[in-house]
Symmetry: C2
Subunit: 273 residues, 2 copies
Protein backbone atom coordinates (compact mmCIF):
# COMPACT_ATOMS: atom_id res chain seq x y z
CA UNK A 1 0.00 0.00 0.00
CA UNK A 2 1.20 3.48 -0.78
CA UNK A 3 -0.30 6.91 -1.18
CA UNK A 4 1.15 9.57 -3.44
CA UNK A 5 -1.05 12.42 -2.21
CA UNK A 6 0.95 15.29 -0.70
CA UNK A 7 1.61 15.94 2.95
CA UNK A 8 -0.08 19.24 3.75
CA UNK A 9 1.98 21.51 6.00
CA UNK A 10 0.84 24.87 7.29
CA UNK A 11 2.27 27.61 9.45
CA UNK A 12 1.43 31.20 10.35
CA UNK A 13 4.31 32.21 8.08
CA UNK A 14 7.64 30.97 6.82
CA UNK A 15 9.14 29.50 10.01
CA UNK A 16 7.44 26.17 9.33
CA UNK A 17 9.91 25.61 6.51
CA UNK A 18 12.23 24.22 9.20
CA UNK A 19 9.72 21.36 9.49
CA UNK A 20 9.66 21.01 5.69
CA UNK A 21 13.45 20.78 5.72
CA UNK A 22 13.34 18.01 8.33
CA UNK A 23 10.58 16.20 6.41
CA UNK A 24 12.53 16.31 3.15
CA UNK A 25 15.61 14.86 4.78
CA UNK A 26 13.66 12.06 6.43
CA UNK A 27 11.08 11.41 3.69
CA UNK A 28 12.59 12.45 0.36
CA UNK A 29 9.89 10.74 -1.73
CA UNK A 30 6.95 12.55 -0.14
CA UNK A 31 5.28 15.40 -2.02
CA UNK A 32 4.75 18.38 0.27
CA UNK A 33 2.32 21.25 -0.09
CA UNK A 34 3.32 24.09 2.28
CA UNK A 35 0.95 26.93 3.10
CA UNK A 36 2.18 29.98 5.06
CA UNK A 37 -0.33 32.58 6.25
CA UNK A 38 1.98 35.54 5.70
CA UNK A 39 -1.03 37.88 5.34
CA UNK A 40 -1.76 37.45 9.05
CA UNK A 41 1.62 36.43 10.48
CA UNK A 42 2.61 36.33 13.33
CA UNK A 43 0.05 34.42 15.38
CA UNK A 44 2.19 34.51 18.53
CA UNK A 45 0.42 37.38 20.25
CA UNK A 46 -3.12 36.58 19.06
CA UNK A 47 -5.91 35.02 21.13
CA UNK A 48 -6.63 31.29 21.12
CA UNK A 49 -10.04 31.82 19.45
CA UNK A 50 -8.51 33.78 16.58
CA UNK A 51 -5.68 31.28 16.07
CA UNK A 52 -8.19 28.40 16.04
CA UNK A 53 -10.30 30.11 13.39
CA UNK A 54 -7.25 30.84 11.20
CA UNK A 55 -6.08 27.22 11.56
CA UNK A 56 -9.39 25.82 10.30
CA UNK A 57 -9.25 28.14 7.29
CA UNK A 58 -5.72 27.03 6.38
CA UNK A 59 -6.40 23.31 6.91
CA UNK A 60 -9.41 23.61 4.61
CA UNK A 61 -7.12 25.05 1.92
CA UNK A 62 -4.75 22.08 2.35
CA UNK A 63 -7.65 19.64 2.02
CA UNK A 64 -8.49 21.32 -1.28
CA UNK A 65 -4.94 20.31 -2.33
CA UNK A 66 -5.85 16.70 -1.54
CA UNK A 67 -3.55 16.41 1.50
CA UNK A 68 -3.33 12.93 3.05
CA UNK A 69 -2.14 14.33 6.36
CA UNK A 70 -2.06 17.77 7.94
CA UNK A 71 1.13 18.88 9.68
CA UNK A 72 0.75 21.92 11.91
CA UNK A 73 4.26 23.33 11.56
CA UNK A 74 3.61 26.07 14.07
CA UNK A 75 3.87 25.88 17.84
CA UNK A 76 1.30 28.59 18.44
CA UNK A 77 -1.33 26.76 16.38
CA UNK A 78 -0.29 23.35 17.76
CA UNK A 79 -0.69 24.65 21.30
CA UNK A 80 -4.30 25.77 20.89
CA UNK A 81 -5.97 24.34 17.78
CA UNK A 82 -5.15 20.60 17.47
CA UNK A 83 -8.36 19.27 19.09
CA UNK A 84 -10.55 21.49 16.89
CA UNK A 85 -8.58 20.50 13.77
CA UNK A 86 -8.86 16.77 14.58
CA UNK A 87 -12.61 17.15 15.12
CA UNK A 88 -13.02 19.05 11.83
CA UNK A 89 -11.04 16.98 9.32
CA UNK A 90 -10.97 13.31 8.40
CA UNK A 91 -7.20 13.04 7.73
CA UNK A 92 -4.65 12.68 10.56
CA UNK A 93 -3.38 15.93 12.12
CA UNK A 94 0.12 16.14 13.63
CA UNK A 95 1.43 19.12 15.56
CA UNK A 96 4.86 19.96 16.95
CA UNK A 97 4.12 19.96 20.68
CA UNK A 98 3.58 16.26 21.39
CA UNK A 99 6.69 15.04 19.48
CA UNK A 100 8.80 17.75 21.15
CA UNK A 101 7.54 16.83 24.61
CA UNK A 102 8.31 13.14 24.02
CA UNK A 103 11.86 13.93 22.89
CA UNK A 104 12.43 16.18 25.92
CA UNK A 105 11.26 13.51 28.35
CA UNK A 106 13.56 11.00 26.66
CA UNK A 107 16.56 13.31 27.00
CA UNK A 108 16.27 15.02 30.39
CA UNK A 109 18.25 13.42 33.19
CA UNK A 110 17.44 15.75 36.08
CA UNK A 111 13.78 15.96 35.01
CA UNK A 112 13.95 19.75 34.69
CA UNK A 113 12.96 20.90 31.20
CA UNK A 114 13.02 24.47 29.84
CA UNK A 115 10.63 25.63 27.13
CA UNK A 116 10.93 28.77 25.02
CA UNK A 117 8.38 30.03 22.50
CA UNK A 118 6.10 32.89 21.52
CA UNK A 119 3.85 34.54 24.10
CA UNK A 120 0.82 32.55 22.89
CA UNK A 121 2.62 29.20 23.07
CA UNK A 122 3.97 29.84 26.55
CA UNK A 123 0.70 31.31 27.83
CA UNK A 124 -1.17 28.23 26.57
CA UNK A 125 0.87 25.96 28.85
CA UNK A 126 0.70 23.36 26.07
CA UNK A 127 4.24 22.04 26.48
CA UNK A 128 3.88 21.94 30.25
CA UNK A 129 0.68 19.91 29.92
CA UNK A 130 2.19 17.57 27.33
CA UNK A 131 5.35 17.06 29.40
CA UNK A 132 3.39 16.41 32.61
CA UNK A 133 1.11 13.96 30.80
CA UNK A 134 4.21 11.95 29.94
CA UNK A 135 5.87 12.21 33.35
CA UNK A 136 4.16 13.73 36.38
CA UNK A 137 7.50 14.31 38.08
CA UNK A 138 8.95 16.56 35.42
CA UNK A 139 9.59 20.19 36.35
CA UNK A 140 9.02 22.74 33.58
CA UNK A 141 10.39 26.29 33.42
CA UNK A 142 9.03 28.34 30.51
CA UNK A 143 9.83 31.69 28.98
CA UNK A 144 8.27 33.68 26.16
CA UNK A 145 10.98 35.12 23.86
CA UNK A 146 9.14 37.47 21.48
CA UNK A 147 12.32 39.04 20.06
CA UNK A 148 13.80 35.84 18.67
CA UNK A 149 11.49 35.57 15.66
CA UNK A 150 12.17 39.10 14.39
CA UNK A 151 15.93 38.60 14.98
CA UNK A 152 15.81 35.46 12.85
CA UNK A 153 13.73 37.19 10.20
CA UNK A 154 16.31 40.00 10.14
CA UNK A 155 18.87 37.30 9.30
CA UNK A 156 21.08 38.10 12.31
CA UNK A 157 21.75 34.44 12.99
CA UNK A 158 25.44 34.67 13.87
CA UNK A 159 25.57 37.99 15.59
CA UNK A 160 26.74 39.40 18.90
CA UNK A 161 23.46 41.30 19.39
CA UNK A 162 21.46 38.11 18.96
CA UNK A 163 23.81 36.27 21.33
CA UNK A 164 23.19 38.95 23.98
CA UNK A 165 19.42 38.71 23.63
CA UNK A 166 19.64 34.92 23.89
CA UNK A 167 21.68 35.33 27.09
CA UNK A 168 19.06 37.72 28.50
CA UNK A 169 16.24 35.28 27.79
CA UNK A 170 17.97 32.02 28.71
CA UNK A 171 20.28 32.79 31.62
CA UNK A 172 17.45 32.61 34.19
CA UNK A 173 16.49 29.16 32.88
CA UNK A 174 20.09 27.94 32.96
CA UNK A 175 20.60 29.19 36.50
CA UNK A 176 17.51 27.27 37.55
CA UNK A 177 19.39 24.25 36.16
CA UNK A 178 17.28 23.00 33.32
CA UNK A 179 19.25 20.29 31.50
CA UNK A 180 17.06 20.18 28.36
CA UNK A 181 15.62 23.07 26.37
CA UNK A 182 12.67 22.70 23.99
CA UNK A 183 12.91 25.11 21.05
CA UNK A 184 9.17 25.68 21.08
CA UNK A 185 8.86 27.72 17.89
CA UNK A 186 9.55 26.52 14.37
CA UNK A 187 11.80 29.54 13.74
CA UNK A 188 14.14 28.67 16.57
CA UNK A 189 16.14 25.83 14.98
CA UNK A 190 17.78 28.61 12.95
CA UNK A 191 19.24 29.87 16.27
CA UNK A 192 20.38 26.45 17.47
CA UNK A 193 23.98 27.38 16.65
CA UNK A 194 23.78 30.61 18.63
CA UNK A 195 22.20 28.88 21.62
CA UNK A 196 24.88 26.21 21.58
CA UNK A 197 27.57 28.93 21.45
CA UNK A 198 26.01 30.52 24.54
CA UNK A 199 25.32 27.47 26.67
CA UNK A 200 27.21 24.66 24.98
CA UNK A 201 27.24 21.54 27.07
CA UNK A 202 24.99 22.94 29.82
CA UNK A 203 21.79 22.11 28.03
CA UNK A 204 20.48 19.63 25.43
CA UNK A 205 18.36 21.20 22.69
CA UNK A 206 15.11 19.64 21.50
CA UNK A 207 14.34 20.77 17.96
CA UNK A 208 10.58 20.65 17.44
CA UNK A 209 10.97 20.50 13.65
CA UNK A 210 13.06 17.29 13.67
CA UNK A 211 10.85 15.58 16.20
CA UNK A 212 7.72 16.52 14.29
CA UNK A 213 9.20 15.01 11.10
CA UNK A 214 9.97 11.76 12.95
CA UNK A 215 6.38 11.61 14.20
CA UNK A 216 5.10 12.11 10.65
CA UNK A 217 7.26 9.24 9.38
CA UNK A 218 6.00 6.93 12.12
CA UNK A 219 2.37 7.78 11.42
CA UNK A 220 2.73 7.31 7.65
CA UNK A 221 4.25 3.88 8.28
CA UNK A 222 1.55 2.87 10.77
CA UNK A 223 -1.26 3.81 8.40
CA UNK A 224 0.41 2.66 5.15
CA UNK A 225 0.33 6.20 3.82
CA UNK A 226 3.93 6.39 2.55
CA UNK A 227 4.46 7.57 -1.02
CA UNK A 228 5.67 4.91 -3.47
CA UNK A 229 9.44 4.49 -3.61
CA UNK A 230 10.70 6.59 -6.51
CA UNK A 231 7.93 9.20 -6.08
CA UNK A 232 9.58 12.51 -7.08
CA UNK A 233 8.64 14.28 -3.81
CA UNK A 234 7.83 17.75 -5.11
CA UNK A 235 7.70 20.73 -2.79
CA UNK A 236 5.06 23.37 -3.49
CA UNK A 237 5.03 26.55 -1.41
CA UNK A 238 2.00 28.86 -1.22
CA UNK A 239 1.69 32.03 0.87
CA UNK A 240 -1.31 34.25 1.62
CA UNK A 241 0.73 37.41 1.00
CA UNK A 242 3.82 38.28 -1.00
CA UNK A 243 6.99 36.85 0.59
CA UNK A 244 9.34 39.26 2.37
CA UNK A 245 12.99 39.19 3.35
CA UNK A 246 12.56 36.16 5.60
CA UNK A 247 11.90 33.78 2.71
CA UNK A 248 15.40 34.61 1.46
CA UNK A 249 16.89 34.10 4.95
CA UNK A 250 15.12 30.74 5.36
CA UNK A 251 16.06 29.57 1.86
CA UNK A 252 19.71 30.32 2.52
CA UNK A 253 19.87 29.01 6.06
CA UNK A 254 17.93 25.84 5.27
CA UNK A 255 19.27 25.35 1.74
CA UNK A 256 15.78 24.44 0.57
CA UNK A 257 15.00 24.20 -3.14
CA UNK A 258 11.80 26.20 -3.52
CA UNK A 259 10.40 26.91 -6.97
CA UNK A 260 7.95 29.68 -7.73
CA UNK A 261 5.97 30.69 -4.66
CA UNK A 262 2.21 30.68 -5.22
CA UNK A 263 -0.07 33.37 -3.83
CA UNK A 264 -3.37 32.20 -2.28
CA UNK A 265 -6.30 34.10 -0.86
CA UNK A 266 -7.70 32.93 2.50
CA UNK A 267 -11.36 31.90 2.30
CA UNK A 268 -12.73 33.44 5.49
CA UNK A 269 -14.94 31.39 7.74
CA UNK A 270 -17.74 33.04 9.70
CA UNK A 271 -16.30 34.47 12.92
CA UNK A 272 -17.49 32.90 16.14
CA UNK A 273 -17.62 36.18 18.08
CA UNK B 1 -20.01 75.97 14.88
CA UNK B 2 -18.87 72.91 16.71
CA UNK B 3 -19.12 69.17 16.30
CA UNK B 4 -19.13 66.75 19.21
CA UNK B 5 -18.77 63.58 17.11
CA UNK B 6 -15.61 61.61 17.94
CA UNK B 7 -12.32 61.68 16.09
CA UNK B 8 -11.85 58.18 14.72
CA UNK B 9 -8.29 56.89 15.04
CA UNK B 10 -7.10 53.54 13.76
CA UNK B 11 -3.86 51.59 13.73
CA UNK B 12 -2.72 48.07 12.98
CA UNK B 13 -2.34 47.61 16.73
CA UNK B 14 -1.59 49.55 19.87
CA UNK B 15 1.29 51.78 18.69
CA UNK B 16 -1.19 54.40 17.45
CA UNK B 17 -1.91 55.25 21.07
CA UNK B 18 1.12 57.56 20.84
CA UNK B 19 -1.02 59.61 18.43
CA UNK B 20 -3.97 59.44 20.85
CA UNK B 21 -1.68 60.71 23.62
CA UNK B 22 -0.57 63.65 21.45
CA UNK B 23 -4.20 64.37 20.46
CA UNK B 24 -5.41 64.39 24.07
CA UNK B 25 -2.70 66.84 25.08
CA UNK B 26 -3.47 69.16 22.20
CA UNK B 27 -7.26 68.72 22.03
CA UNK B 28 -8.49 67.70 25.48
CA UNK B 29 -12.18 68.30 24.67
CA UNK B 30 -12.31 65.97 21.68
CA UNK B 31 -13.92 62.55 22.02
CA UNK B 32 -11.69 59.86 20.48
CA UNK B 33 -12.65 56.42 19.28
CA UNK B 34 -9.51 54.31 18.82
CA UNK B 35 -9.55 51.06 16.88
CA UNK B 36 -6.49 48.75 16.88
CA UNK B 37 -6.42 45.72 14.56
CA UNK B 38 -4.60 43.47 17.02
CA UNK B 39 -6.05 40.37 15.33
CA UNK B 40 -3.89 41.07 12.25
CA UNK B 41 -1.03 43.15 13.68
CA UNK B 42 1.63 43.88 12.52
CA UNK B 43 1.05 45.26 9.03
CA UNK B 44 4.71 46.20 8.55
CA UNK B 45 5.70 43.17 6.47
CA UNK B 46 2.42 42.80 4.54
CA UNK B 47 1.80 43.76 0.91
CA UNK B 48 0.32 47.11 -0.09
CA UNK B 49 -2.85 45.45 -1.43
CA UNK B 50 -3.50 43.63 1.83
CA UNK B 51 -2.83 46.72 3.94
CA UNK B 52 -5.19 48.77 1.75
CA UNK B 53 -7.98 46.23 2.16
CA UNK B 54 -7.52 46.08 5.94
CA UNK B 55 -7.54 49.91 6.12
CA UNK B 56 -10.88 50.16 4.33
CA UNK B 57 -12.38 47.61 6.71
CA UNK B 58 -11.20 49.52 9.78
CA UNK B 59 -12.26 52.95 8.47
CA UNK B 60 -15.72 51.52 7.80
CA UNK B 61 -15.91 50.43 11.45
CA UNK B 62 -14.96 53.98 12.55
CA UNK B 63 -17.67 55.45 10.31
CA UNK B 64 -20.16 53.18 12.10
CA UNK B 65 -19.03 55.00 15.29
CA UNK B 66 -20.02 58.29 13.64
CA UNK B 67 -16.45 59.59 13.31
CA UNK B 68 -16.14 63.17 12.02
CA UNK B 69 -12.57 62.62 10.85
CA UNK B 70 -10.39 59.57 10.31
CA UNK B 71 -6.84 59.63 11.64
CA UNK B 72 -4.57 56.91 10.27
CA UNK B 73 -2.27 56.49 13.28
CA UNK B 74 -0.06 54.01 11.48
CA UNK B 75 2.82 54.77 9.17
CA UNK B 76 2.46 51.55 7.21
CA UNK B 77 -1.19 52.30 6.38
CA UNK B 78 -0.48 56.00 5.82
CA UNK B 79 2.24 55.12 3.35
CA UNK B 80 0.04 53.00 1.09
CA UNK B 81 -3.68 53.50 1.73
CA UNK B 82 -4.45 57.24 2.07
CA UNK B 83 -5.58 57.83 -1.55
CA UNK B 84 -7.94 54.83 -1.43
CA UNK B 85 -9.32 55.91 1.97
CA UNK B 86 -9.91 59.48 0.76
CA UNK B 87 -11.71 58.15 -2.32
CA UNK B 88 -13.87 55.81 -0.22
CA UNK B 89 -15.09 58.00 2.65
CA UNK B 90 -16.77 61.40 2.86
CA UNK B 91 -15.03 62.60 6.06
CA UNK B 92 -11.48 64.03 6.02
CA UNK B 93 -8.63 61.50 6.33
CA UNK B 94 -5.30 62.48 7.95
CA UNK B 95 -2.24 60.24 8.02
CA UNK B 96 1.11 60.55 9.76
CA UNK B 97 3.42 60.84 6.74
CA UNK B 98 2.58 64.30 5.39
CA UNK B 99 2.74 66.06 8.80
CA UNK B 100 6.02 64.30 9.62
CA UNK B 101 7.54 65.27 6.28
CA UNK B 102 6.55 68.91 6.77
CA UNK B 103 8.11 69.01 10.23
CA UNK B 104 11.33 67.40 8.93
CA UNK B 105 11.65 69.95 6.12
CA UNK B 106 11.11 72.76 8.61
CA UNK B 107 13.86 71.43 10.90
CA UNK B 108 16.65 70.18 8.66
CA UNK B 109 19.48 72.61 8.08
CA UNK B 110 21.77 70.54 5.86
CA UNK B 111 18.79 69.18 3.87
CA UNK B 112 19.72 65.59 4.67
CA UNK B 113 16.87 63.76 6.41
CA UNK B 114 16.91 60.22 7.79
CA UNK B 115 13.76 58.09 7.98
CA UNK B 116 13.27 54.90 10.00
CA UNK B 117 10.19 52.68 9.94
CA UNK B 118 8.87 49.21 9.26
CA UNK B 119 9.83 47.33 6.10
CA UNK B 120 6.53 48.21 4.42
CA UNK B 121 6.84 51.94 5.20
CA UNK B 122 10.42 52.16 3.97
CA UNK B 123 9.76 50.01 0.90
CA UNK B 124 6.82 52.25 -0.05
CA UNK B 125 9.12 55.28 -0.33
CA UNK B 126 6.23 57.34 1.07
CA UNK B 127 8.36 59.64 3.24
CA UNK B 128 10.89 60.10 0.47
CA UNK B 129 8.11 61.11 -1.93
CA UNK B 130 6.46 63.41 0.61
CA UNK B 131 9.80 65.06 1.50
CA UNK B 132 10.78 65.54 -2.15
CA UNK B 133 7.36 66.99 -2.95
CA UNK B 134 8.06 69.67 -0.34
CA UNK B 135 11.67 70.32 -1.34
CA UNK B 136 13.28 68.82 -4.44
CA UNK B 137 16.76 69.42 -3.01
CA UNK B 138 16.31 67.32 0.11
CA UNK B 139 18.41 64.17 0.42
CA UNK B 140 16.73 61.23 2.15
CA UNK B 141 18.44 58.20 3.72
CA UNK B 142 16.02 55.50 4.90
CA UNK B 143 16.32 52.32 6.92
CA UNK B 144 13.85 49.64 7.89
CA UNK B 145 14.22 48.73 11.60
CA UNK B 146 11.99 45.67 12.12
CA UNK B 147 13.34 44.89 15.60
CA UNK B 148 12.32 48.16 17.21
CA UNK B 149 8.61 47.39 17.46
CA UNK B 150 9.10 44.05 19.26
CA UNK B 151 11.69 45.66 21.58
CA UNK B 152 9.17 48.34 22.49
CA UNK B 153 6.41 45.77 22.95
CA UNK B 154 8.74 43.83 25.25
CA UNK B 155 8.94 46.98 27.37
CA UNK B 156 12.75 47.23 27.07
CA UNK B 157 12.62 51.00 26.67
CA UNK B 158 15.61 51.92 28.82
CA UNK B 159 17.89 49.02 28.21
CA UNK B 160 21.46 48.44 27.04
CA UNK B 161 20.33 45.77 24.55
CA UNK B 162 17.89 48.19 22.96
CA UNK B 163 20.57 50.89 22.88
CA UNK B 164 22.88 48.50 21.00
CA UNK B 165 20.25 47.64 18.43
CA UNK B 166 19.51 51.34 17.95
CA UNK B 167 23.23 51.92 17.37
CA UNK B 168 23.33 49.11 14.81
CA UNK B 169 20.40 50.54 12.90
CA UNK B 170 21.21 54.24 13.15
CA UNK B 171 25.01 54.55 13.02
CA UNK B 172 25.09 54.25 9.21
CA UNK B 173 22.57 57.10 8.93
CA UNK B 174 24.50 59.27 11.39
CA UNK B 175 27.79 58.67 9.57
CA UNK B 176 26.11 59.78 6.36
CA UNK B 177 25.42 63.02 8.29
CA UNK B 178 21.66 63.23 8.44
CA UNK B 179 20.79 66.13 10.77
CA UNK B 180 17.11 65.23 11.22
CA UNK B 181 15.54 61.82 11.84
CA UNK B 182 11.87 61.05 11.19
CA UNK B 183 10.53 58.42 13.62
CA UNK B 184 8.41 56.85 10.90
CA UNK B 185 6.43 54.41 13.05
CA UNK B 186 3.93 55.29 15.75
CA UNK B 187 5.68 52.96 18.20
CA UNK B 188 8.97 54.81 17.94
CA UNK B 189 8.22 57.87 20.11
CA UNK B 190 8.52 55.41 23.02
CA UNK B 191 12.21 55.05 22.05
CA UNK B 192 12.85 58.79 21.66
CA UNK B 193 14.71 58.80 24.99
CA UNK B 194 16.96 55.91 23.94
CA UNK B 195 17.71 57.50 20.57
CA UNK B 196 18.57 60.79 22.23
CA UNK B 197 20.88 58.95 24.64
CA UNK B 198 22.66 57.38 21.66
CA UNK B 199 22.96 60.35 19.35
CA UNK B 200 22.09 63.35 21.51
CA UNK B 201 22.78 66.58 19.75
CA UNK B 202 23.81 64.99 16.46
CA UNK B 203 20.28 64.65 15.16
CA UNK B 204 16.88 66.31 15.61
CA UNK B 205 13.99 63.89 16.05
CA UNK B 206 10.68 64.30 14.24
CA UNK B 207 7.91 62.58 16.18
CA UNK B 208 5.18 61.57 13.73
CA UNK B 209 2.58 61.31 16.51
CA UNK B 210 2.98 64.94 17.64
CA UNK B 211 3.01 66.29 14.12
CA UNK B 212 -0.06 64.29 13.18
CA UNK B 213 -1.93 65.72 16.19
CA UNK B 214 -0.99 69.27 15.13
CA UNK B 215 -2.31 68.58 11.63
CA UNK B 216 -5.59 67.29 13.10
CA UNK B 217 -6.00 70.45 15.18
CA UNK B 218 -5.39 72.64 12.14
CA UNK B 219 -7.90 70.74 10.04
CA UNK B 220 -10.61 70.78 12.74
CA UNK B 221 -10.17 74.56 13.02
CA UNK B 222 -10.27 75.11 9.24
CA UNK B 223 -13.47 73.11 8.86
CA UNK B 224 -15.16 74.25 12.11
CA UNK B 225 -15.22 70.70 13.37
CA UNK B 226 -13.89 71.35 16.91
CA UNK B 227 -15.88 69.90 19.80
CA UNK B 228 -17.71 72.45 21.97
CA UNK B 229 -15.61 73.88 24.83
CA UNK B 230 -16.38 71.84 27.91
CA UNK B 231 -17.01 68.66 25.94
CA UNK B 232 -15.83 65.83 28.21
CA UNK B 233 -13.49 64.31 25.59
CA UNK B 234 -13.97 60.62 26.25
CA UNK B 235 -11.50 58.06 24.99
CA UNK B 236 -12.89 54.72 23.82
CA UNK B 237 -10.48 51.95 22.82
CA UNK B 238 -11.56 48.95 20.75
CA UNK B 239 -9.32 46.11 19.54
CA UNK B 240 -9.98 43.26 17.11
CA UNK B 241 -8.31 40.75 19.42
CA UNK B 242 -7.64 40.53 23.15
CA UNK B 243 -4.94 42.99 24.29
CA UNK B 244 -1.52 41.58 25.14
CA UNK B 245 1.45 42.78 27.16
CA UNK B 246 2.01 45.83 24.97
CA UNK B 247 -1.21 47.54 26.10
CA UNK B 248 0.26 47.56 29.60
CA UNK B 249 3.60 48.90 28.32
CA UNK B 250 1.88 51.66 26.33
CA UNK B 251 -0.45 52.60 29.19
CA UNK B 252 2.48 52.97 31.56
CA UNK B 253 4.83 54.71 29.15
CA UNK B 254 2.17 57.10 27.85
CA UNK B 255 0.24 57.48 31.11
CA UNK B 256 -3.03 57.23 29.18
CA UNK B 257 -6.30 56.74 31.03
CA UNK B 258 -7.99 53.90 29.18
CA UNK B 259 -11.19 52.38 30.54
CA UNK B 260 -12.47 48.97 29.56
CA UNK B 261 -11.13 47.84 26.19
CA UNK B 262 -13.86 46.75 23.76
CA UNK B 263 -13.48 43.74 21.50
CA UNK B 264 -14.70 44.14 17.90
CA UNK B 265 -14.92 41.70 15.04
CA UNK B 266 -13.65 42.86 11.63
CA UNK B 267 -16.33 42.83 8.93
CA UNK B 268 -14.39 41.38 5.99
CA UNK B 269 -14.64 43.02 2.62
CA UNK B 270 -14.43 40.97 -0.56
CA UNK B 271 -10.77 40.41 -1.43
CA UNK B 272 -9.54 41.99 -4.62
CA UNK B 273 -7.26 39.06 -5.55
Amino acid sequence: MSDSRPIGVFDSGIGGLTVVKALRELLPNEAIFYLGDTARVPYGNKSAETVERYAIELARMLMAENAKLIVVACNTVSSVAIPKLRASFSVPVIGVIEPGAQAAIARTQNRHVGVIGTRATIRSGAYENALRALNVHVRVTSRACPLLVPLIEEGWLNDKLTDNIILRYLEPLISEEIDTLVLGCTHYPLLAGAIERAFGSKVKLVDSAQNCASAVKELLDQRSLRAPAGNPGNLEVALTDAPDNFLRVAREALQLEIGEVQLREVIHSAPAL
